[in-house]
């Protein structure tokens, strides 16, 4: 049995875990930003799908992965713009619009795929990896963590950038105030609507990027419903993380590792029905919730549209 787990195989598993974690990480970071600012963004699945589709289209026709990430992020922003307009500016119910956007983008991207790609199923070439010198030579760990596309390192760097943003900048204060006591932010001279709009659009960009990564690097292609609920997992990760980007990273990695673990257990021939093994990632999150979920403190004004002077 031990012979099964060669070094190469182990690092491939971990590599896969990272690849699976990145879209969740980006979605989770995005959702976290919206939630911090008081917007419950249920439409994130739709934003990811838009990013996956447009990101693939961009990368496929231009031949440049980076352009694909750009168009993907733009796709997410476009959906976020609708959300910002409807939920932040005129204050429609965030759950209704979020679900409507998710359903709509599921249908729309499937429709577009049908007319555009359903005969050719184009696939992208492998994403080229940026190898980190020295670190990538560490056995097992090296190839698993330090031979990824540059965007992966950027995504991880983003975690720390966001942490800095939340704790050390004026914008971070503004976001937190917009979620906890928007009226206080307003009378301090900062436009709540604008702050929340920025947050939602950033969410769109991150979710779109996550979708684009999923399609372009994760799968190398686009097919309908490719996100498979990743956006909803992003919501869970964001809520679990209690406003701290680093926890989103841990959560996403944990989920990715669980996914790889299911593969490992199968390959090892452990004779548990696959269906049970596959509950593992969800069980892991649920256990985390039972253990650490208590008093998960969400922003006080989460989900409540802000209107100046209303009472």
């Amino acid at each position: 049995m031990t012979g099964l787990f060669s070094e190469v195989f182990l690092s491939a598993l971990l590599f896969g875990a990272v690849t699976a974690a990145i879209p969740l990480l980006l979605a989770g970071l995005g959702e976290q930003m919206s939630e911090k600012a008081g917007v419950l963004n249920i439409g994130i699945e739709g934003m990811m799908l838009a990013g996956a589709y447009l990101g693939f289209v961009g990368a496929f026709y231009s031949g440049s992965l980076w352009l694909g990430f750009l168009t993907g992020a733009a796709g997410g922003v476009a959906v976020a713009l609708i959300m910002a307009l409807l939920c932040v500016r005129i204050g429609l119910n965030q759950i209704v619009i979020g679900i409507a956007l998710t359903l709509g983008l599921e249908g729309l991207t499937a429709l577009l795929h049908h007319f555009q790609f359903s005969r050719s199923y184009p696939r992208l070439p492998a994403a080229d990896a940026t190898v980190i010198p020295l670190l990538s030579d560490i056995p097992v760990i090296g190839p698993a963590f330090f031979k990824h596309h540059l965007i992966v390192y950027l995504a991880v760097a983003l975690v720390f950038a966001m942490g800095y943003l939340y704790r050390r900048t004026q914008l971070g204060l503004n976001l937190q105030a917009a979620g906890d006591k928007p009226a206080a932010l307003d009378v301090a001279g900062i436009d709540v609507i604008r702050t929340r709009t920025i947050a939602v659009l950033t969410t769109g960009a991150l979710a779109g990027l996550g979708g684009a990564y999923l399609a372009n690097v994760g799968a190398g292609l686009f097919i309908p419903f490719i996100t498979n609920g990743a956006g909803f997992l992003g919501i869970v990760l964001a809520m679990l993380a209690r406003g701290r980007p680093v926890w989103v990273l841990f959560g996403a990695l944990l989920f990715g590792v669980c996914l790889s673990l299911t593969t490992a257990m199968q390959v090892a021939g452990i004779n548990i029905p696959t269906d049970i093994i596959q509950m593992l990632p969800f069980l892991a999150v649920m256990i985390m919730l039972v253990l650490f979920g208590r008093r998960a403190s969400l922003p006080a004004a989460l989900g409540i549209p802000y209107e100046r002077g209303a009472r």
């Binding site: 099964l4 060669s6 190469v8 195989f9 690092s11 491939a12 598993l13 590599f15 896969g16 690849t19 699976a20 879209p23 049908h114 359903s118 005969r119 050719s120 199923y121 184009p122 696939r123 992208l124 070439p125 492998a126 999923l214 399609a215 994760g218 799968a219 190398g220 292609l221 686009f222 097919i223 309908p224 419903f225 490719i226 498979n228 609920g229 996914l259 790889s260 299911t262 593969t263 490992a264 199968q266 390959v267 021939g269 004779n271 029905p273 696959t274 596959q278 509950m279 990632p281 969800f282």
Partner: protein, 315 residues
């Protein structure tokens, strides 16, 4: 007179749905009947669609998904319209319900032999997105074929993560892991996720730095191949539908089982440029042996039994 076919996904998947729809169209054309296609219906309740197609005058409803094998016979009895269902051999009813339980296991066996012959690393992988019976029988037969050809070849079997039918990224991730475990030929079964498997094969090098090859099932993906498709266990369902239409006319509908197999080429292994001619000749000889019964391949439908087979093969 018209016949209707219902499929869960769009008929553009180079697989189960497309083969069904294409076959129905061909059989209908040959018999001179119109063919109505209802595709992308999902795996939910198709009774409304069945009823509607029946009321529109279809004289045969082909319910082309194992998920429809409860609803279709019920509607057949309710509206007295003949239906054809899959994977339900004991569901026959004269004049009303016919079954076509298709298994490509004979073809998959040959594919296994082929894989074992061609594998440089003496290690092959099976990646599936789920474990429905028709896939299980092919996974099992493939493994038997590999083992029969060379007992030393290692087989790695992996099911993609949760809700995997459209999980192309999962398909790619798991396939890459399997390749990393040493496999240089991947036998892949999955709907949308199989494109992810294909992409993984195209973009990942085998341990020896050479190409990894892909063996597909049911459909023929060569139109979209980039030189990594080794073969495919192609199903041709047209004879089945043609026979059904004939039986319908002859009033013997619902009395027979329809199957596919190597014998009439309704199951066949796809020849690609990647297969050397001498290997192909050997495979053709084996094909004869299977047809003649010299080699017996029994279908295994149960997921647990399939996994047991893999474990024993791996050791």
């Amino acid at each position: 007179k018209s016949i209707a076919i219902l499929t869960p996904e769009e008929g553009t998947d180079y697989g189960w749905n497309q083969q069904g729809i294409d076959a129905a169209k061909a059989a209908g054309k040959a018999a001179g009947v119109e063919v109505v296609v209802a595709q992308g219906l999902g795996y939910g309740d198709v009774r409304p669609t069945l009823r509607e197609l029946a009321s529109d005058g279809a004289s045969l409803l082909i319910a082309h998904a194992s998920g429809y094998n409860t609803s279709a016979p019920e509607i057949a009895k309710e509206l007295k319209v003949p239906v054809a269902i899959v994977d339900t051999p004991n569901g026959l009813e004269k004049g009303l319900v016919a079954d076509y339980t298709l298994s490509g296991h004979q073809g998959a066996y040959l594919a296994g032999r082929l894989a074992a012959k061609m594998s440089r690393s003496k290690s092959v992988g099976i990646v599936v997105s789920g474990e429905p019976p028709s896939w299980n029988s092919q996974s099992a037969a493939f493994a038997q074929g590999v083992k029969a050809e060379n007992p030393d070849v290692k087989i790695t079997y992996a099911v993609i993560g949760p809700a995997a039918y459209s999980d192309a990224a999962g398909g790619k991730r798991v396939t890459e892991s399997v390749i990393a475990s040493g496999a240089d030929i991947i036998f892949g079964q999955g709907n949308g996720s199989s494109f992810g498997m294909l992409q993984a094969v195209e973009t990942t090098k085998a341990a020896d730095g050479g190409k990894v090859y892909f063996i597909d099932v049911i459909g023929d993906k060569s139109p979209i191949d980039k030189g990594f498709l080794l073969s495919s266990v192609v199903w041709n369902i047209e004879p089945v539908y043609a026979a059904m239409i004939a039986d319908l006319k002859a009033d013997t509908f619902g009395t027979k089982h329809y199957t596919i197999g190597l014998k009439d080429d309704s199951v066949k292994l796809l020849k690609t440029a990647a297969i050397p001619d001498n290997v192909w000749t050997d495979i053709q000889a084996l094909r004869e042996d299977v047809i003649s019964g010299k080699i017996k391949v029994d279908p295994v439908y149960d997921a647990a039994a399939v996994r047991a087979l893999m474990t024993s093969v791996a050791q």
